[in-house]
Structure formats: structure tokens, C-alpha cells
Amino acid sequence: MNSAFHTIVVSLLTGAFAISVLGIVLRVYVQNWKKEWIPTIGKYADFMAWVSALTGFVLIFAALITGFAVWPIHAVLNSSILKNKIFTAVLLLIFWAVFLVIRYKFRERIWQSATLSVYYFLLGVGAFFWGVVTNSIGGDVAGNSSGFEYIVHLIGVDTRWSFYLPTWMLFILVGLGVVAAFVPSFFRQDQKQAPKDFKAKEM
């Protein structure tokens, strides 16, 4: 397959995510500074963010398919930079998946919770910029590095080495995830006293 197809799909999904981020930013603005616009512009912006993110999410799969059609899997797995591209793309997929799941479960009620709305906003904006890093690594593969991939150098990661961690570090990372998941349990009493109306199923 001509690599142009992959480039087109990546451009489409980046555009979709850009629209999504625009919607989120607009909604945050309305939510905090133009509350009278919430039923109109706020609602539509939120819907726009949701639909665009869903479109971009589906297009990530299309990008993975076209990407693997351009380069044989073994060639990809032998290249540190292509492996890093896959790594960042998978993480991008996870970010947007979480974004969409949260939106699916809580819908517009996300904006009633400071915790959720902040996390939703950060996820959307963060995932968009992570997408830029991903695309930039892709540009590096094509010999047109934009330089955005060097953002990860700020945390000491060099994109020219394959992304991998020592095994003991993987356990720590998963352990940190488990701790993060159970942090609310340490506040169980508070959780039990919380109003039922925030449970997603009952909303």
C-alpha cells in the first residue's frame, strides 16, 4: 500500500480529535464563564466533542491497518522508531477510549463534577497533544521529523531508543495503577455517605 493512504487517515483522525478538543474547550468556557449558554452552545459543543472523538477513535484503527499495510509487521518490530510509533499510538487509543467511556457513562453530567470535568478536559487535551507526538514520530519514520517528538525528552525519554522498562519497573507501574484504582476505598465512609444520584447507572 502507498504510504499516502496512511498519511491521509492519520490527517483525518488528527482533524477529528482537533475538533473534539475545540468542543471541550468551548464547553469548559461556557461552563465556567457563560452559564446562560449551557443549554445551547455548551450542549452542542459537548456533543461535537463526543462525536468527533468517536470518529477519531474509529479512525485510529483504520490508521493501524493502513500503517501495517505499508510496512510488514516484522520490519516494524525490528525498528525502534516504528515500535515507538506503535507504542504511542496504542497509548493514544487508550486515552481516547477512556475519554469515550467516561462520556458514555456520565454524558453531560460530567460537567456537574469538578473531578470528572477536570479529568475529562485533561484527557481530551492531553490525548490530542499525545497524538501530535505520535504523528511526529511517524513523521520521523517518513524522514520528515517535526520535532514535537522531542517533547517526551523533557521527561528523559529518547525516542530513538525503543520504549521499554525493566521488569521490576513494570510491576511498580501496575502497582501504582492498583493503588490509584483503590484510593477511593480508603475514603469508603465518605463514599457511602455520598448522594446516590452520582452513580452512573442511576443517572
Binding site: L77, V90, V98, L116, L123, L165, V179, A180, S185, F187
Partner: protein, 467 residues
Amino acid sequence: MKRMQIAVIYVLIASLAVGLTGGFMSSGVVQDDPDRNIVIPDERMTELKVKAAYNGEDIFWRFDWESEDGFYHDYLVYENGEWVQHGASPVGPDLEGVYEDRLTFLIDDGSVEHFNSAGGFLTVQEGMRYMTSMADAEEAAEHVDRNWVRKFLPETREDPTDWRTVKEEEELEKLVDAGYFLDFWHWRAHRSNPVGHAEDTHLLEDRNADTGDMFTTNWDDELDQPQYMFDPDTAGKHAMDWNRVLARDYTQDDYYYLGPDNMTEFDPDHDWQEGDTLPRRPLEEPTGSRANIFANGVWDDGRWNLDLQRAMDTGNPREDKIFHEQGKYDIAFAIHKNATGTRWHYVSFPFTFAFEREADIQVQKFEGDTPPWDEIEWETFEMFYPGQITWDHAINPEQHAGAEEVKKSTPISEAHTEEEFSFYGIESEFRDEILGQWMMTMGAVSIFVVLFSIGVVRSARIERRDQ
């Protein structure tokens, strides 16, 4: 209040995860593994400065690079009544530091396909000495008359990626007729420099010395003793002292080598003392085409300064590339330093040099015998440790995403930088291990993001309680 506490906890967890991930990313796999012939050098890259001139008869090169005092090489040391060899081509550096520095380069005139785009990588194949896939000694001896396989050009094999399939002598001769060989200049800090030469060799089905002599081995198999020792009348000593060698006490002004001017036949009746040391590679007065290149290398204050000179037309077109005015040629450099041999070197991408034409290195014309070096600008080239990247890997689309570009002779520098290659070279030695760790890391990072998000969503209820 609870909401703030939880927010702080999540910020801490996220910061810890990001910090640890950044701090330990790409670590834990790359490490020395001598059993697989893997020793990773401390430095991934180095620099080589080059300038060149010609006077119509000869071409002159001047080089400058950083290095330790690498003019010690391969000694026989008298220990417990026996002569024991110290210094050999080991896996990685020689730990006693007695392996010479070298500066080498390959030159082509356009006859060898892909050399102008891939440089020395064209000559690297699986099975070569000290690759992880190093050929079995017996099998190597069967096919290449030596216990190990050295670099070679692909078209010298029936199967260009299989070192075993050497073509018949007649076919090799026809390749040479067609100019299909690389001129291989080989400056050695110990085995050639003291006699004012670089070794002139060429690359075809193997690295072949040009016709002539330069050095031999200081060992008499029949008598089981060295053949030569220092001549006390000219050298002022019978032998060097091993402790002084280890202390790097001999300078270039001392006799650290055996040469035509300072050696004599070995005297077994001499009262040899523990630690007496004789060079194992006595130098001969260079002869023939092998002696075409004159050299003067001076090590000073942590740097080599080297001058080379050769006739533009040596009269040996089957062993040397002949240079012409208005000619343009391809060249790729390599440096061995830090007491290393074989594949533990630093290499450059291929570049061009030309006489009165545009090129990466402009060979400047001058009148007289000595180039006006001060008037010629240095060109600086990045050199990198190449790891175990083979030609077979580079041209195989199943292994290398850019294989088609390599086959089209797209210059390596259009797709990669030297610094990138310094990373790829090292990773090439751990492909399988890195792949497994990469997959596990992708899984662990994904699990972390999902669990973290679950936690944040769960904590949203506590926020409601707070309110």
C-alpha cells in the same frame, strides 16, 4: 477537603509514574554479554576531522581525532620461565590496553554498487568474526582459509548474503577486471606507523593485503620461542618491561615496537627476567604495493594527528583505486580506539571527495611537496558504534522498513542521522530481548492508565459527599 486530598494523591501517583517511567525508560536490557560476543562501548559516538590536498602527483590526507595512547600492541611477556602472549583481538576492549589504535577507510570510484549510499555496511554480514552469529571455526576454515570470517563484498558470493558461497577465483578476477573492489587504507598505530607507513589493502572476497610485506609474527614454532628481540646495540636494551607497559610509561620516542632498525635474532641464552617483554609483531621494511601509503602519526595530549600520502596513480589498478584530476570518489571512515579490534570500531556514513569538483571533501590543489595545511579547512565527520547491523538486514524488507530505499541506493544520510544509527546499532544486538520487554511495557502502561482512570472516576463520588 477530601476532594483536595484525593486530588493531591492522584497528582502524586501520576507524577511518580511519569517520573519513574522517564527515569528508567529504555533501560534494563542493554548490557554486556560476552557469551554472545556483546560488549557495549562506553561512548556511542566520536568525531574525526579530515582535510585533503594534492599536487598532481600525490594525494595527502591529514586526520585528527581524540584517543588514548593506542600505540601499544600484542606483546610476549616472560612469565615463570615461559613467553606468554598479552594483547589479542578480544570481545570488546583488551583489558590490559595493549591493542593498537587504527584509522581505516574504504574508497571506491563508483564501481561497487551501493557503496556510495550505504558505505561500510555493504561489507557486513552475519557470521563474521565476533558477531553474535559468528561462524564456527572449522566451517570458516573450510570456506575462507581462516578460522573466522572477515568483511567482504556481496558480489563475491554466489549468494550475496551467505559468506560460505565464495565464487571461483576466475570469477573474482573478472570482478576485479571490472573494478569491483574497494581500496582499503589501513593505518595501524603499532604495526605500520613506526615504519612510516599505513598498510595498503583492498577488499574483495576478503580483506586482502596488497602485494608485499609489512609485519610478521615474532614466534618460532619449531624452537617454541620468540624469533627476535631488541638489539642492545641500537635499542639499548634486550626487552621492554611489562610493568612499564602497563603503566603506559613508554612514549612514541621510546622503542615500544620491534622494527628493522632495532631488532636482532632472539638469544635464548640471555638471562631473561620475569616481566621482560618483546613485541609480538616485528615490523619489516614495507615492500611492494602494500607499502604505497606513507604515514606519520603523532599522539599528543589525548589526540592522534596523522598525515597520509600516496601516489594518485600507484600503478596497481587491480589493488588500488587510481585518482584522476576532476575525479570524484566515495569514502567511508572507521576508527578503532580504546584497545579494541574487529567490529568494536566507530564508523562514518559514506562521503565523497573530489579533485576540483564539488564534494563533501574538497581535495585542494597546491604546488610543491608539502600541503599548505593551515589554509585548508577541517571537515568534521560524526562516527558511531555500528553494533551488528548487517547488509542482509538492511536489504530485507521483512526486517527493515527502509529496505526498498537501500536497494535503490538512497543515501543512508537521507533516512537516518549518525546519532540515530548509534542507537540502532546498539539495539541491533538485543532485538529479541527488546521486543519482549517493549510488549510488556506497552501492556503495563496501558493497564496503569486504565486503573488510574477507574480510580479518578470512583473518587468523583467523594467529591459529591464533600459538597
